[in-house]
Amino acid sequence: MNIFKYFGEIFGAIKSLWAGMRVTGYYFIHPGQIVTQKYPENRKTLKMTERFKGEVIMMHDENNQHACTGCGICELNCPNGSIEIITDKITNEAGKSIKIIDKHIYHLSMCTFCELCIKTCPSDAIGWGQEYEHAVFDRHKLTKVLNHPGSSLRKKPSKEPNQE
């Protein structure tokens, strides 16, 4: 074996090892490069993007009214059966029996966040919520009723312009 080759190998090896150590050494003396976040502490400032898929919610306005007509298209489109619509029949002022939503049940535990329900909703009643802390001790808590208690269907705005 060539003695120069032998020592050349050793010096080449040391050089390559030193290159790697320079990288780690650089980060060691630059703690400002730390990228991790301290999570529960930064809860206040942690803001999800507006498209963040946290959970499906039903949008309610200040009068506790939503846009869900209870048509059931979201239930049909859900691939996992995580949405159940329970409708009710009431009689309106005109004396007509109409179908309204009683409970919009959403199983967060089965949801795969494919967005098909939101995409296909004809009245844009449901959307994404930015809530991201979903851990619970009881999985039944992951079954949510999306329409708030006492909420009602929003009337078409053209019909009652002077509500306020």
Binding site: I10, L17, G20, M21, V23, T24, G25, Y27, F28, P31, Q33, I34, V35, T36, K38
Partner: protein
């Protein structure tokens, strides 16, 4: 009693005299042994926990993370919390394991590392036993731990453990040679194997400076070989968590696992302090012959600070290696030892002997 941070000789003498004057010599010796044992036990636990914490913090910063930061300020109580967790964990009995050896193995590992502390000189006069073959003793005792590792692997009745243990055996036996030979270079320089003598000989300059090129080579080889001997990355083949899950301590749990874990870090400390003692002058302050002004300033720093400062420096080096390099394969590991480190080391020894003979080192 006069307590002096620069020289512990008078303090230890005073303790010895006080004990001897109040009781029989035999009882005094027994009590001294107990005191030293307790002090070392405490020291062992504290250093082990601090090193685990330091390693986690160092690797975190290298990897752009914060590291432990939940338990206590900056997470300094994290390792204590971990220790409590390990103490409370169930000790699992393995079916068809050799129970006696299985339980014995962690103790062998921890006793081997515990024995080594006895000969370490922490400061002037702060050394339990000053053997006249001190370095030989350290070297012998620190290699005892591999028996524990082999037993752990053998008795666990697990194939992963067995492979890890056999790897460890092959590795430690090979790297012993390099550790011994690289230390031998300094023994040749100093002309003594007594640790206090070696430190005395560095009063006018550390061997890594006085011994220039061959001492540097010996230092680098010692760092590599001792990292391998303590089973640390990039030579952690015995544990190799991506190949053997956890190697020889796969089957251990609770406090028995903690023993292995603690012993690994203690071994790192021992190896680093040997390197500091042999190459970097131990507790001896940084002196340059003739520069009396600077030497006086250096003397102002207590020796114990010098010792731990140098040890921490070497430990940081070893952590830096571990968190940078990929792991070697077993055949490459042995190649590195037998084809590179050992021939270089032998050449180096000859060179050192020649230099000492001709008096070419810096006096």
């Amino acid at each position: 009693m006069d307590f002096n941070i620069y020289d512990f000789t008078s303090f230890t003498k005073w303790v010895d005299n006080a004990l001897n004057s109040s009781m029989s010599p035999l009882l005094a010796i027994i009590i001294e042994l107990i005191i030293i044992g307790l002090v070392f036990l405490l020291f062992y636990a504290i250093v082990g926990l601090l090193l685990v914490y330091a390693e986690r913090k160092v690797c975190a910063v290298i990897q752009n993370r914060y590291g432990p930061n939940r338990v206590g300020p900056f997470g300094i109580f994290q390792t204590i919390a971990d220790l409590i967790k390990l103490l409370m964990k169930e000790l699992i009995n393995i079916k068809h394991a050799d129970n006696f050896l299985f339980n014995l193995a962690p103790f062998i590992v921890i006793i081997a590392s515990f024995m080594a502390i006895a000969a370490l000189p922490f400061a002037k006069g702060l050394q339990a036993i000053d053997f006249n073959i001190g370095i030989f003793y350290l070297f012998a005792v620190s290699s005892l731990g591999v028996i524990g590792i082999l037993l752990a692997g053998w008795s666990s009745n697990s194939k992963y453990s067995l492979i890890g243990a056999i790897r460890s055996g092959a590795q430690v036996i090979s790297y012993e040679l390099s550790v011994g030979l690289s230390l031998l270079a300094i023994v040749v320089f100093a002309g003594t194997m007594q640790l206090s003598g070696i430190i005395e000989s560095q009063a006018d300059g550390w061997w890594i400076i006085k011994g220039h090129f061959p001492a540097l080579v010996a230092f680098v080889i010692f760092l590599i070989a001792s990292t391998a001997e303590t089973n640390r990355g990039p030579f952690d083949l015995a544990e190799a968590e991506s190949e053997l899950t956890a190697g020889f301590h796969t089957e251990y749990s609770g406090i028995k696992f903690a023993f292995f874990f603690l012993a690994e870090y203690m071994n790192m400390f021992i190896v680093a302090s040997i390197a500091a003692t042999m190459f970097l002058g131990g507790w001896m302050p940084f002196h340059i012959a003739g520069w009396d002004g600077m030497n006086a300033i250096m003397d102002y720093v207590p020796p114990i600070v010098w010792f731990f400062g140098k040890t921490i420096f070497v430990i940081l080096m070893m952590m830096w290696f571990k968190w940078t390099f990929p792991r070697l394969r077993i055949d490459q590991l042995l190649n590195l030892e037998w084809k590179y480190l050992l021939p270089l080391n032998l050449m180096n020894i000859v060179l050192v002997a020649f230099i000492v003979l001709m008096g070419w080192y810096i006096k």
